[in-house]
Amino acid sequence: MPYRRFAYMTSRHQPYEIMLFIAAVSIGLSYFGETPPKSLEQFMPSWFLTYWYISVLVGGVVGLITLVPKRRTRRELNIVLNIERGALLIITSAIFGYICAILATARPIGSAIVASSLIFGWMSAGIVRLVQIQNSIRKLSEDDNAAARVV
């Protein structure tokens, strides 16, 4: 049987992804009331810390927004998948920044590895989901192009 790329056309978000968006909103909101973690404060310049928090907050909010609309048509599904991809890109890259901050500042190195590997797991899951979304978008666009050629 020939290999076929599987496209994830489900309308449901994966549970980890919903939790990731909720966590991102919580982390982003915490910037306005709580002191940032020491690893972030030491690693990042203040302007970049602000950018980082705002990115995480925006990524989380946008990601949660994609939960709301019902995806009736292929075009709506395409739009929601693009927004979801953007939200995941923002949060995943922010997680990467956090991993770098932990590895650069946390000591002893053993605890830094434990903390960063847990977060690395979240980032990897985000990247896998990104690849799935990208495949779905490509499949949708290939189908639409084929339909346009038929018309």
């Binding site: 690693f43 990042m44 310049p45 302007w47 970049f48 950018y51 980082w52 990115s55 925006v58 990524g59 946008v62 075009r75 739009i79 929601v80 693009n82 927004i83 991809r85 953007g86 939200a87 995941l88 890109l89 923002i90 995943t92 890259s93 922010a94 990467f96 920044g97 770098c100 346009a148 018309v151």
Partner: protein, 131 residues
């Protein structure tokens, strides 16, 4: 203009960072988050452009189909005109043939009539001779 100013500001801030690898990480994070923001904005505001493109494509395809149908209609009309012309010529030839046949038939009728008259005359003469 706003995006350009923001990029210049970010580039200046990145350049002031402590170490080169920190600059690389910050640039990477800003680049990927920027791609994410662009994806979100494109999905929200790019929809109208995509719709317009799709509509234009549909109109273009429909126009091509209409042109093709017009060409086929013109071909069919030209074919039917040729056919009608051929049939008219055939009808004219048949009319001529019928007229010729009618003329021949009338001549034959006249010849037969005169023949009958002559025969009749011969019979009368024969009768008179017997009397």
């Amino acid at each position: 203009m706003l995006a350009k100013g923001l990029l210049l500001y970010l580039a200046a801030e990145v350049a002031e960072s402590k170490t080169p690898w920190l600059q690389i990480i910050i640039t990477l994070v800003i680049g990927v988050t920027g791609a994410g923001f662009a994806s979100v904005l494109n999905a929200i505001f790019g929809k109208k452009l995509t719709d317009a493109k799709a509509d234009a494509q549909i109109v273009h395809n429909a126009q091509e189909i209409i042109n093709e149908l017009k060409e086929r209609l013109a071909e069919v009309q030209a074919d039917s005109k040729d056919k009608v012309r051929e049939l008219n010529i055939e009808i004219q030839e048949l009319k001529k043939t019928i007229q010729e046949e009618r003329r021949l038939a009338q001549e034959e009728v006249l010849r037969l009539k005169s023949d009958i008259i002559m025969r009749d005359q011969e019979i009368q003469n024969y009768k008179q001779g017997r009397q």
